[in-house]
């Protein structure tokens, strides 16, 4: 959004400059007036961007989570700790967590944010968060917050154009910065030292995405006015899409209902 603001400021200054040359002597005072006008116009643009919010619900009863015991001194805390799968995180009212909701069509590709504070963390021998999103080209951090070693193995799908990597983080506090150049839903991360550790990162060409919280709620903000196809993607429960048209200030709601797939056999 910041680059849109700058473009509008610059455009407004050019217009003002032309007006002043034609009608008024170019003075610093008039120039500052135009600049202020451009700033107001730009901030108004940001303030009135649309948002889409909603809830993703799950129909059906998911299979029980599978478990694995860790006897690693770091992970087990000196004893044994049981780790559970996070394929289905379902809230009290059926809301489904860890659904990657994003604008699939209708949004223009934008330059990645320079904000590199998005973090995929390793805490207590688990990835946090389980599902997250980044833009293409956006730098994000992979951090080891555990007092021991992990390896971070990213496994993009063949043909996606994103590069597989496998790096060691043997020391607490180690941070590695990475980015993906191509859109992909979703890139799998795993730790080969601790096999129950895996997570997913969605990569899209714009900033209009969100991950549902544990109760299935999501919010996508900063949307320009337009017509969009929004997709809710869950690794097990499948995908659902919705066509949504938003105006400049609209706050639209879009709910999705996914279902537990039937048994394969």
């Amino acid at each position: 959004m910041f680059h849109i603001l700058l473009a509008r400021i610059f455009g407004a200054v050019l217009v003002c400059e032309k007006l002043i040359t034609n009608r008024f002597e170019l003075t610093m005072k008039s120039y500052l007036k135009c600049l202020t006008l451009a700033l107001v116009a730009g901030s108004w643009q940001v303030a009135v961007a649309a948002e889409i919010s909603g809830k993703v619900k799950l129909n059906g009863t998911p299979p029980p989570a599978a478990s694995m015991e860790a006897k690693d001194a770091m992970c087990g805390g000196g004893g044994t700790k049981t780790y559970m799968t996070r394929h289905y995180v379902v809230g009290a009212d059926g809301g489904l967590g860890n659904v990657f909701v994003y604008v699939k069509e209708g949004a223009a590709k934008t330059a990645p944010t320079a904000d590199a504070t998005t973090v995929l963390d390793q805490v207590g021998c688990e990835y946090t968060p389980y599902v997250m999103g980044v833009q293409t080209g956006q730098k994000f951090q992979i951090r080891n917050s555990d007092p021991g070693l992990h390896n971070v193995h990213a496994m993009p799908k063949p043909g996606s154009g994103n590069k597989e990597f496998n790096l060691g983080q043997p020391v607490k506090g180690m941070v590695t910065t990475k980015s993906f150049d191509n859109p992909e839903i979703l890139v799998r991360f795993k730790c080969d030292v601790h096999p129950w550790m895996f997570a997913y990162v969605g990569v899209v060409e714009h900033p209009y995405f969100a991950v549902t919280d544990k109760d299935g709620n999501f919010k996508i903000t900063g949307l320009p006015a337009g017509k969009y196809t929004v997709e809710a993607y869950h690794l097990k429960a499948g995908v659902k899409t919705a066509e949504i048209t938003v105006g400049a200030e609209d706050k639209k709601s879009a709910d999705f209902t996914l279902a537990v797939p039937p048994p394969a056999q």
């Binding site: 299979p63 989570a65 599978a66 478990s67 694995m68 860790a70 690693d72 001194a73 770091m74 992970c75 799968t85 394929h87 021991g148 070693l149 390896n151 193995h153 496994m155 597989e164 990597f165 496998n166 790096l167 060691g168 043997p170 799998r188 991360f189 795993k190 730790c191 080969d192 030292v193 601790h194 096999p195 129950w196 550790m197 895996f198 097990k236 429960a237 499948g238 797939p261 039937p262 048994p263 394969a264 056999q265």
Partner: protein, 395 residues
């Protein structure tokens, strides 16, 4: 291979190398079964440290299996170097002896330069040594030293393949690494057999191989090798169990392989570890592996029956054919249990180990049949319709 003068300590070293190699295959099986092949992301270092100095406090989780595998492989490499050097020293004289021993020593010394480039360069040289050795074998009166040179070269290449699989992030190298391991085991076991006193003393059986038993052994062993390649391909794609039920596949005798079906299969999985999604090719591969198992069971059973008919029940070849059949039955059982129990680590690894034993047994039966069973001489030997009495191999 021809016989060589018996030295019991040399034979023991060969047997120890063969046993260590089998143990290494088992440890390698554990690595893949635990999904720990990439737990150490660098090579030839280990998390930036010298492999032999990596502190035991960091041998955690998957690192324990992968790092142990690398250390065990180094031991097998050293044993193979010692075996090759000893055989070379016994089989050569003068300049040829010192050139060979010097090459082995130089290789071991250069492996102290712990860089990927040096190891790859040595592997390239090793490929050349294999080619030269294969050229020399038909021309040599006593070719065992060339087989030993091949063994040393193969173990070096195996180490480099394993390392490159990690640094290059290539599943295909893992498949090749797993397959070559089995072939290396066959080679070192064959060397141990040829060096044994029993091999040296064995006499040709007074029975002509009219039924072509040697070809049965060879063909069935080749089928087992193909089955092992299929198995290695399945395991090293790291997608877990492609078909969760047996004897049906997703409830059918032949599973649906269309895109919707594959999506359904992946959605219904409840994987506890970070395996890749399964593909139609992987489902198809497992079906071919199942069919292959049935065919191999039939082929081994038929071969054992032919051996019994041709050689009689007391022949060592017949007895080992029945052992071979027992191994195949055990292997089939382990394969079924791998599916029914959702690929537990111990069962899946045992499946790898018994597969290796099945291949080695078939290869040794083939080797023994070719050595001890004379080919029929049609002009000299009138047909009597009655097989000759069975001779026993020396104990």
């Amino acid at each position: 291979m021809t016989q060589t003068d018996n030295n019991p300590w040399l034979t023991r070293l060969a047997v120890a190398t063969a046993l260590a190699t089998f143990g290494l295959i088992c440890v390698g099986g554990l690595v893949t079964s635990h999904g720990a092949g990439m737990a150490v992301p660098d090579w030839p270092t280990t998390y930036g440290e010298h492999m032999f100095l990596f502190p035991t406090s960091k041998w955690v989780g998957g690192v324990f299996y992968e790092h142990s595998h690398r250390l065990f492989a180094s031991l097998v490499g050293l044993l193979t170097a010692g075996l090759t050097g000893w055989i070379w020293a016994r089989e050569t004289r003068g300049r040829a002896r010192w050139v060979g021993l010097g090459a082995i020593a130089a290789t071991l010394g250069l492996m102290g330069v712990r860089t990927q480039g040096m190891f790859v360069a040595l592997a390239v040289v090793a490929v050349g040594v294999i080619g030269w050795s294969l050229f020399q074998i038909p021309r040599a009166e006593r070719p065992i030293r060339w087989w030993a040179a091949i063994a040393f070269s193969v173990v070096l290449i195996q180490g480099v393949l394993g390392g490159l699989r990690v640094t290059a992030l290539k599943d295909e190298l893992g498949i090749f690494h797993g397959t070559l391991a089995q072939l290396f085991l066959v080679l070192v076991v064959a060397i141990a057999v040829v060096l044994s006193r029993g091999w040296r003393r064995a006499e040709k059986l007074p029975v002509y191989d009219r039924a072509g038993l040697r070809y049965f052994f060879a063909f069935t062993t080749a089928m087992i090798l193909l089955q092992l390649i299929l198995g290695a391909t399945m395991r090293h794609q790291h997608a877990g169990l492609a078909i969760p039920d047996f004897p049906t596949a997703y409830g059918k005798w032949w599973p649906d392989l269309d895109a919707d079906a594959i999506t359904r299969y992946n959605a219904s999985r409840n994987e506890i570890v970070g395996v890749k999604p399964i593909t139609a090719a992987q489902v198809g591969l497992q079906m071919v592996h199942r069919i292959g198992a049935v065919l191999i069971l039939a082929a081994v059973a038929w071969t054992a029956w032919v051996a019994r008919r041709q050689l009689g029940g007391r022949s060592a070849l017949t007895k080992f054919s029945l052992v071979w059949l027992g191994l195949i039955l055990a292997q089939a059982t382990l394969g079924v249990l791998t599916v029914l129990q959702n690929k537990p680590v111990d069962v899946a690894t045992a499946h790898v180990a018994v597969g290796a034993l099945s291949l080695v047994t078939g290869a040794m039966l083939t080797l023994t049949a070719m050595r001890l069973l004379p080919k029929p001489v049609r002009e000299a030997e009138p047909f009597s319709g009655v097989p000759q009495p069975t001779a026993k191999l020396p104990a």
